[in-house]
Assembly symmetry: D3
Homo-oligomer: 138 residues x 6
Amino acid sequence: MSTSKSLSVTRRPIEYADASARVRAVYDDIMQTRKTDWVNNFWKVLAHDPATLERMWANVKQVMAPDGALDPLTKEMLYLAVSASNSCRYCIASHGAAATAKGMTPQQYSELLAIVGLANETNRLVNALDVEVDERFR
Amino acid sequence: MSTSKSLSVTRRPIEYADASARVRAVYDDIMQTRKTDWVNNFWKVLAHDPATLERMWANVKQVMAPDGALDPLTKEMLYLAVSASNSCRYCIASHGAAATAKGMTPQQYSELLAIVGLANETNRLVNALDVEVDERFR
Amino acid sequence: MSTSKSLSVTRRPIEYADASARVRAVYDDIMQTRKTDWVNNFWKVLAHDPATLERMWANVKQVMAPDGALDPLTKEMLYLAVSASNSCRYCIASHGAAATAKGMTPQQYSELLAIVGLANETNRLVNALDVEVDERFR
Amino acid sequence: MSTSKSLSVTRRPIEYADASARVRAVYDDIMQTRKTDWVNNFWKVLAHDPATLERMWANVKQVMAPDGALDPLTKEMLYLAVSASNSCRYCIASHGAAATAKGMTPQQYSELLAIVGLANETNRLVNALDVEVDERFR
Amino acid sequence: MSTSKSLSVTRRPIEYADASARVRAVYDDIMQTRKTDWVNNFWKVLAHDPATLERMWANVKQVMAPDGALDPLTKEMLYLAVSASNSCRYCIASHGAAATAKGMTPQQYSELLAIVGLANETNRLVNALDVEVDERFR
Amino acid sequence: MSTSKSLSVTRRPIEYADASARVRAVYDDIMQTRKTDWVNNFWKVLAHDPATLERMWANVKQVMAPDGALDPLTKEMLYLAVSASNSCRYCIASHGAAATAKGMTPQQYSELLAIVGLANETNRLVNALDVEVDERFR
């Protein structure tokens, strides 16, 4: 009885073989867009809710599209920096792999992490000290 | 009596004319390093604690140095993205100005914000769903 | 010169009269969907980036749709609770107004806030104490 | 020597059989109030500090009381939403189980998560863009 | 019409003269406990919900009691540090004043802020790098 | 192929025997300053980026120096409180051990945690209710 109570909050990845046609359509688009032959766990867990799976993939596909004003590597590093700042371990792993695949070097990742750390320090100092925005920045 | 109680937590910017030699040395280095003729409020408020002023400037100067593996614009955009994610209004203003001065376009800023927003959404979903890191990401 | 530097990060609301056809189409859909004759500032500021305006509105429209498994008032209160937990003043004002319009009473809002506060307390205690998930919850 | 240093920060659950009379009184009230025959780990870990155990239980008992303006299921879902937003894994498991026991369906949980994710996105965008509160919301 | 919609979320301080007997009893206890002749705005705003006012004051009174294992100044500085880390401007002002009244010097406050900033930096680095807890710390 | 992609984001501790002279110099200073014969994992993981290792150690050494206005135990407890508030498990373990070594008792740690929890509750309530800073606190 007690196990059934938590079934709705714990969700295992849904593999392609077990997925509905609606879910497979998203998996197919993910693999085609990324030119790869596999789908990572985030999408397989979201697949329990096909509407959210479709919506989130549409968002990621649009926001991370390669034809924007920012190049794909910069986009991945921005995503990675926010994920590191938010302590999302899975997101660091997945976007770290994506950034690396797009050319991020270990040295660049070190610098990215240093910026994330320092920004978290100065952000807190600035907010705690309630620093007034300079006239020149307005 | 009551006003004196809060004097230690509220700190006004210390202008160059009123600064000690120790503080002026940092202000001078900031202006020289940035090739500008003014110092923004963050440093002027930190100046109440010269040791922290020196330390923080040494950190920012090193981490944001232009000779790293990441180019200066990318560094500023990473700093800006973390600051936006952390809702630090002053930091968005100051690093937004710095990124713009280094060439960030309004369209690039829009894309940066979109990534910050989306990362905050997927970071929460991933952590809430406790998604297991894929074998391929390890 | 300095003012132009910050133009890209500070964005004023774009009124209907000044909006492009693409932006007006979103404004029109917002007003029609919400059965109201005005658009709030969030959308008018997002309008500087029509792609994000369209995308965010499509997300909000889908997620907050009235025909879901959760009733509209519960949805608004959940949105409000997260916004209160994240200290988003504007979001509290806008979703507070929406929840009130859908029937939330002052007493219900008080209880909602009490839950938000208490959850933030116990969430920190649990994470700090690294409490192991009970077998019955797995 | 070194292990003793961390004894004060790492705390194992205290089982009923090993608990003091003061702690047992709280455990008894938890079980009676919840009409159940067990106590989950959060309380058993808090039990190392009986004053905090008593205080936190008194808070939870009052805030989550079934006779409020909000019904018990809505209260649990609000608690769950904040816990998901704060990435408190244990809290998601425990309040997810409680909400499920009170009737939350998997589909409702999916919608709850979608709202948590989206609110985190728009909260960041709103704060980053420093959107002014509309006159109508004041 | 529209103004009434936001009445439930915006709450003005309730002055002693306008307060119910139930609320006045809390105000009286706050002033007596703190040996002062006024009540700060936090409590006056909470007063719209007397149950929460009573509960929160009971919590603060117990947790911040002067007879604990930690001395009152250390307690206030811990509260202040967390508030600074969470960017709660009002809380920094109120607990900063309380800490100053209990003897915190400007130099001590500077050191406190430096620790808050640095902890936010290393906390992010540690979580991003997923550092394993040393055997000696377990 | 895929494993190499994540090499840049996953970093194992670098032991003294495998460290460069530059890294060893920092390890030596850590051990000498702390009067101990080992280095904890945080530094060993940072060692992949010697510049950040040197910089972070210089910061920690300065901020946590024993000759400040705050005594070493208070400093450690402030660091611990912020780490607990930020849910940094490793940091709680390491700074908890350091605070314990400097004399923090289990009862003091319990009170510290209670303050961290309560501050997170009132911080959210204050920000959500947008409480105006009292004249006396300005």
